[in-house]
Subunit: 196 residues, 2 copies
């Protein structure tokens, strides 16, 4: 049997100290803080990391080499065409990608029953890719995640493969995805409030 | 407590009957069959569904409306530029997308320890998005899934936003992603063979 329940309170104290520090340093996405506070106020859960969803421009030295990937621009909010074009203008080498990522919240649960409860709640709020990410003696980790995503190659080694008009189109789609994802965060916040 | 362990053998018998039928009807991707057979030969696991990874062209009537989405082309193998252009040629309305999806295998495990064992093995074989997808009295379900993915908007309502040259580029990237993903399937097949 796994010992995560036995270690829950100690791990939660540690995570909460880490979160306080991250908050002080301004390292937590503003628009996800109320939801994190709500989850952490429950005695059977704590959050270990989070991202409120983002749009980014990434430069990858080689295919699949995420270790050496570099962000030329990264926003946890809707973006303007100009911001994206400015970031693209900084491209020089490797593969250039336009990316959208869903919000993602890692939540540790005290028991398996607690994990399944928040997992099902998240799925019902539209976070359809939510899952139990890992189980160990230390932690039982639920990942709350949604389906919004784009992975669009833009060019390579300084050469751009798409037009300004195309970038305008995908920025509009990305902003719509992000709005939808942020709406789900709001919904989850309300549902957690009303339950338990 | 969840009763999945108690219901395992009955659920496995049912799933295996379903798989035999799907195999007879040619509904299972050829290149994933040896892996499915290997997993199902283990007494503590059975597969419930799978896809060996795919490249597709999809038409979505409205943003996010996957229910009414339609595939204009779908391949569980590398594709040629011509095949993709033919599929794109069939586009008439809604949003047009070029998609790559990782292989995905749903495996039911007898106990939580069994689930964590195959989850960690899959992650070590490169299936980094693997997770425990759901837990219920009926089933404890592990999802084996990798990171390869593309979501590229191509056009809308009959209008194409990108050039033939761009499509050629993304087909090459997609084929590279699919090759890499299929290699991971092979690796997992070998690792499952050598273990337990």
């Amino acid at each position: 049997m796994f010992l995560f329940t036995k270690n829950f309170d100690e791990q939660k104290a540690r995570a909460m100290a880490g979160l306080r520090k991250a908050l002080e340093e301004g390292k937590v996405d503003e628009d996800i803080i109320p939801l994190l506070e709500k989850i952490n106020s429950l005695e059977n859960y704590f959050t270990t990391s989070s991202c409120s969803g983002r749009i980014s421009i990434m430069e990858m030295p080689e295919f699949g080499d995420k270790v050496n990937a570099e962000w030329l621009g990264k926003w946890h909010r809707e973006v303007t065409l100009e911001e994206v074009l400015d970031a693209i203008g900084m491209h020089s080498k490797g593969q250039l990608w336009f990316l959208v990522r869903s919000p993602i919240i890692h939540v540790s649960a005290r028991t398996m029953e607690d994990a399944v409860r928040i997992l099902n709640l998240a799925i019902n709020c539209g976070f359809k890719y939510s899952n139990i990410k890992s189980i160990s003696h230390k932690k039982l980790l639920v990942e709350i995640r949604s389906t919004e995503r784009m992975d669009v190659p833009l060019g390579e080694n300084g050469e751009l493969w798409v037009s300004r008009e195309y970038i305008e189109k995908i920025v509009a789609i990305a902003n719509a995805q992000l709005r939808r994802a942020k709406g789900k965060l709001k919904k989850l916040e309300e549902e957690i409030n009303s339950g338990r």
